[in-house]
Amino acid sequence: MQANLQQLMDKGALWRGGEWKNSGQNSGKNGEFGAFGKAAATDYVSTGQPLLDQALGGGWRCQRVHELQCEYAFSGELSLLAPAVIAAASAARPVFWLAPPALPYAPAIAGMLQQAGLTNPESAQHIVLTPASEADTLWAAESILHSGQAGVLLLWADSLSATAVRRLHLAAAETDAWVFVLTGIQNEEARSYATRLRVLLTPDKTHAMAANAPRGQVQWQLLKRHGGWPIRLPRQPLPRWPA
């Protein structure tokens, strides 16, 4: 493939026939997904970021395992999942936090749900699991998915083997949960994730208020996505948990 063509496709500027088949009549205009079928609309939940939504063809898809590779923890990855958490709460289904890197702070979660104007914020259940070993974590993830109870499953792991991901993928396929695996930067060896998103932290030195503490910027790099080539999105200000 020619280099300029690749460049155009990376920018998302090129419209391709194959995409049309996969994602309805998505015209590719900014933030317009009105042509999505009704059934498809319920399967997707927004990331809260129009650019990323567009690149992902509508957002995170349920029944799939999505991988978020973060160079550094706490670099705005959770705010991309906030709409999924809201969707789980409005469906009165629990959110599982499996082996999180710190404590999910209850006031912030509740604050986010209140701000989202949820009609029944009392139905949001958040369950934190801190298993002692990675084997236990994977076992727990599978049991949670097999039970069909989960609304959102967030799983933190250093690195998962191909078989572990495959098992998660199979378990996720038979629920209607959103499953996210949050890890560090992984190599590009094939794994059965539906989406592989790399979150890169790039300090914005140009607009620095103070030289030693620049404004945060992230760059999302999609290593794998549904119905599209890998793409590197333009830099964005670091998203914060909406609370």
Binding site: E122, S123, Q125, I127, S147, L201, A213
Partner: protein, 504 residues
């Protein structure tokens, strides 16, 4: 009106019910001390073995005899258990260990006006137990018992040897030619008393119902207990699964009858010489289905190693509670839910450990680490009134170099309220684990003193705490060199900066 239920081979019948494989051979339960048969099955009885014949005789009569030890405690348990089951149908029950129990029909007369109805109920209730029993109906408890034991139709025909008195008096009566109760009752009471003593008069009065019977009435127990002897010694969990399943089915039947669920199971595995292995299963959410409980047991069993072969096992269920309703939405999906949430949480907690699965909840407190709390997993999160809190809270604050941070918004001052200082609550306010390392020794000493001092000195303590700036913090939103927004605080007492959370 009283009914006496005589259960001549309760323990043996229950063994057969739980282990049907035993039915094909001559089975006896013997008393270890006297080496005598206590209970035997039909096959053994057909070979001529009778209760109270000696064990050596039994061996002579039956070659493939299967002898088991008779356990008095277990017999008592079984009788209790049976009474608990009958309690659903009959209100007044009195136990007569080891082999029988009385039922008073009088309080149940409104429900079952005819005595036949009572008997039908009794039959229905006892049918799942698969035990042999004889019934006797009489006006007084002793008469009912004698009728059940002797198996005769009328009171007058009861042979004298079933009279509840000592052997000497019985021999005396027989020598006098009084072979039945009818013959004894025909003699004037005063005359019999003169010849045979006061004891007989009392006995006759009891039989006639002239004297009040002092019976202890049965109260249903607060837990379930069942013990099972294994057919063969086993040392692996796999082989224990099947007997366990039967025990759990019994438990389910028991709980079903009460519409209860259990939150605590104790499995005990008995070995030959060493202490029994105990396996405790605490459940956060009650369960009652045998299949469900079996999964919980298996999860727990996998993590335990048996030190020796198992001969017997028992199960005890406590913390029985009324069943909680499971809310299911009929209209809205639910088709993909294969396991209820409480059951899932139980399984997770059993495998991972109880403290490793929890819910998070808001709490009305200004101190950030106390503004949340662990709650039972599965409880819904409440609304909050504090805004602008970070998503992530570090379990213990991390010391930071303030030069690497840029303060953006603040300060938000936290000052511990006087009552917390006065109440000696100080260790909570300051000194998370990591902090103690950087405190100098004198400060640590003062901290220690302040926690140990009694309430009387609390005002002085409070003022000194204010001077020290104990627990005073200024919270800031700040950004680090990579641009990540964090939640910092400055601790006045220790005069240093801590990272407490992340906003992103």
């Amino acid at each position: 009106m009283w009914v006496y239920v005589q259960l001549p081979s309760l323990q043996l019948d229950r063994m057969l019910a739980l282990q049907p494989e035993l039915a094909e051979r001559a089975l006896v339960l013997y008393c270890e001390q006297q080496q005598r048969v206590i209970q035997c099955n039909d096959i053994a009885a057909n070979m001529g073995i009778r209760p109270s014949s000696s064990l050596s005789d039994a061996w002579l009569l039956a070659e493939d005899l299967v002898p088991y030890r008779y356990r008095e405690a277990q017999q008592r348990h079984l009788l209790q258990h049976l009474a608990a089951d009958l309690y659903q149908v009959f209100a007044v029950i009195s136990l007569d260990p080891p082999n029988g129990l009385w039922l008073d029909l009088k309080p149940m007369q409104k429900l079952y006006p005819d005595i036949r109805q009572s008997q039908e109920q009794l039959q229905l209730q006892l049918a799942p137990w698969q035990v042999r029993y004889h019934c006797g109906v009489g006006n007084t408890p002793p008469v009912a018992k004698m009728l059940a034991q002797s198996g005769v139709e009328t009171v007058g025909d009861i042979p004298i040897q079933y009279l509840p008195c000592d052997a000497k008096l019985q021999a005396q009566l027989i020598r006098m030619g009084l072979n039945t109760l009818g013959a004894l009752q025909a003699i004037p009471r005063a005359l019999a008393g003169q010849r045979l003593g006061k004891e007989l008069v009392h006995l006759l009065a009891r039989i006639q119902g002239e004297q009040h019977e002092s019976l202890r009435y049965f109260q249903p127990p607060l837990w379930f207990y069942q013990r099972l002897t294994l057919l063969a010694e086993t040392s692996g969990w796999q082989a224990l699964r099947f007997p366990l399943k039967r025990l759990l089915q019994e438990l389910e039947h028991y709980l079903e009858g009460r519409q209860q669920e259990t939150r605590y199971l104790l499995l005990t595995f008995y070995h030959r010489d060493i202490e029994p292995t105990k396996l405790e299963i605490g459940l956060a959410h009650g369960g009652y289905l045998a299949a469900e409980l079996a999964v919980f047991c298996q999860l727990k069993m996998e993590s335990l190693k048996l030190p020796a072969a198992v001969l017997e096992m028992s199960i005890q269920a406590k913390r029985l509670q009324p069943r909680s309703k499971e809310h299911g939405d009929l209209l809205n999906g639910g088709k993909k839910q294969r396991k209820s949430l409480p059951r899932l949480l139980n399984e997770l907690q059993l495998r991972l450990g109880y403290s490793r699965v929890f819910g998070v909840q808001n709490r009305h407190d200004w101190l950030p680490e106390r503004a949340w709390q662990r709650s039972a997993a599965g409880s819904a999160i409440h609304t909050t009134h504090v805004l602008g809190r970070p998503l992530w809270l570090l379990p213990t604050p991390k010391p930071v170099q303030i030069q690497q941070w840029c303060l953006l918004r603040g300060p938000e001052r936290y000052q511990p309220p006087w009552w917390q200082l006065a109440a000696g609550d100080t260790p909570y306010l300051s000194a998370p684990n990591a902090m103690q390392n950087c405190m100098n020794s004198s400060m640590r000493r003062s901290m220690k003193e302040s926690t140990q001092e009694p309430m009387a000195n609390s005002w002085g303590e409070y003022t000194s705490a204010v001077i020290q700036g104990l627990g005073h913090r200024d919270y800031w939103v700040a950004r680090n060199q990579r641009g990540q927004p964090g939640w910092l605080f400055y601790d006045y007492q220790q005069e240093c900066w801590w990272l407490h959370g992340w906003f992103s």
